[in-house]
Symmetry: C2
Subunit: 293 residues, 2 copies
DNA sequence: GCAAATGATATATAGGAAGTATCGCTAACG
DNA sequence: CGTTAGCGATACTTCCTATATATCATTTGC
């Protein structure tokens, strides 16, 4: 049995007339009769009652007609599904992200993506950099958002955000009222920072900055979680240096200031498998590249 | 697109190897490659990622595979459905019957039929003879159970039950204790009968019988419904003559007796449209013929 | 009883699916 | 690093079969 048989059968069942059905199918009448006979032979069932004057469906033909419609419809659906899936309009996307992207970058990307591809189910997984890379290899996530660099020939990456460092201060801190704050003003401050193993790139940036002013920061407390970190600043445990996007985490008792003369750029990159040509991923990457800030 | 494409696609998807898939399909490898290419061309979608070393499904291929399985499965289902419908194993059967068949014949037929064709939905419609014939013409019922004769070239009929007449007596009636009861013993009795228009054949049989003993029955009360008729006998409104199968309607206060020397046979027939070749009807008729009593 | 209508049959044709031979690329191996 | 085995694609041929043409057989309506 081929779909041809079903298409022909449906048409004859609709016309109840071999001649008209053949015309509608743009074939001659004899081959149509033959194909219907073939179908009946394979099913071992008579689908039509033919008198030389009238054609009508048998009970079995009636039953088969309903199924035939369903099948032909499902074929169309399958075609559409494949095309949409290929265009990245349907599917699943697992994203890894470092916590610092959760305040600005990730929400913006997600919002834009959802708008354009509402049928994609996106799952979000907060992970630190190394975990993300492992998860990419294990195909647990398809795209990661993290701080560069990534060194692997099997992965691709692209920087999608560069942002300055900001100083986070308790709101009653004396420096708040100062016009311009330079890195040298921080020599005797106590710091609250994320642990090095947790936020490698950021940590090293901060260290480099302090060393450029010939001091090592006095780290009183470490906190991996960004919410907690800002909370500690508000609680006057110390000051901190954070990527600018953290600013959108408006926390009472914390103010943010640029550091005079600091040109540090904190970079955020997207990472994905080089061999991943999934259209879902491709669509996400394209969109993210356009949305670059 | 033809089912061939789906069958080939599914096999390649299962094997992830064109050579092995071709072997399983009993065709050579090149035509298989070509058919898959055709399919991809029609869908405008790549279904497989081919490196010269490995074949794997794309996302779209994965999605399409699920649909392809469903479609092929549904084709099998459709085939089965048509065959079963043709064999009369699936469908609907509307039966008309006169009330007197409801006690013995109809239950027995139904029981046997349901056992063999549990998937058929049977609907039952109590109607008198003329209504049944009209309903057969109107295709509201497919088979009728009634008293012959039926005179129409468009209908077929066959007698499936012959039964004697029984005398129904109130249990305290003097005739109950008599050894042999003859029709002549009934000359002075009062009768309860079904109206002539309602039970044509039966009524005429009773009249003929009485006239053979040179009297006309004294009909005190008529009752169309058989239950009511027997109830009236129990209430000593009179005696009645009924087909033997009514006996299975065991009613307190009523006893049944054969009439000595009476050879009357009450006949019940099945009637159906001559042009009805529905397998459901055919199966029912066959079974009823075998079950004849 | 003849003509029109309609589906089946017989035969011819052509379009395309399958077969054969071969190529091109990759990866594993000595 | 060249060689070889594996595997899918391509080129070309063959053969099957779906389609077309012509005709027949049967029914029905005038």
């Amino acid at each position: 049995m081929e779909l041809r048989h079903l298409r022909y059968f449906v048409t004859v069942a609709e016309e109840l007339h071999f001649g008209r059905a053949a015309k509608r199918l743009y074939i001659a009448q004899p081959p149509l009769s033959q194909q219907i006979q073939q179908l009946e032979e394979e099913l071992e069932v008579l689908l039509f009652k033919r008198s030389h004057r009238r054609v009508e469906l048998t009970d079995a033909g009636q039953a088969f007609l309903g199924e035939a419609y369903k099948i032909l419809d499902q074929v169309e659906q399958a075609k559409l599904l494949a095309q949409r899936t290929a265009r990245g309009e349907i599917g699943k996307l697992a994203l890894g992200f470092v916590s610092s992207t959760a305040f600005e970058l990730l929400p913006r990307l997600l919002y834009a993506y959802r708008e354009q591809y509402p049928q994609i189910h996106v799952s979000l997984h907060e992970m630190e950099k190394d975990q993300q890379i492992a998860a990419l290899f294990a195909r647990q996530i398809q795209v990661g958002l993290l701080r560069p660099d990534v060194d692997s020939s099997e992965l691709c990456s692209e920087i999608i955000l560069r942002e300055p460092l900001l100083l986070a201060l308790p709101s009653q801190h004396p420096l708040v009222s100062k016009d311009q704050i330079s890195i040298h003003d921080l020599v005797h401050e106590t710091f609250v920072l994320q642990p090095r193993h947790w936020a490698l790139g950021l940590y090293d940036h901060v260290m480099k900055l302090c060393h450029s002013a010939d001091f090592s920061p006095n780290v009183k407390q470490e906190a991996a979680d960004t919410y907690l970190l800002i909370g500690l600043v508000a609680a006057k445990m110390g000051i901190s240096l954070v990527p600018a996007s953290v600013q959108s985490l408006h926390s009472q008792g914390v103010v943010y200031r640029r550091l005079e003369g600091d040109t540090t750029q904190i970079e955020t990159a997207m990472v994905w498998r080089r061999d991943d040509d999934s259209p879902v991923v491709e669509a996400f990457l394209n969109l993210a590249q356009q949305e670059t800030f």
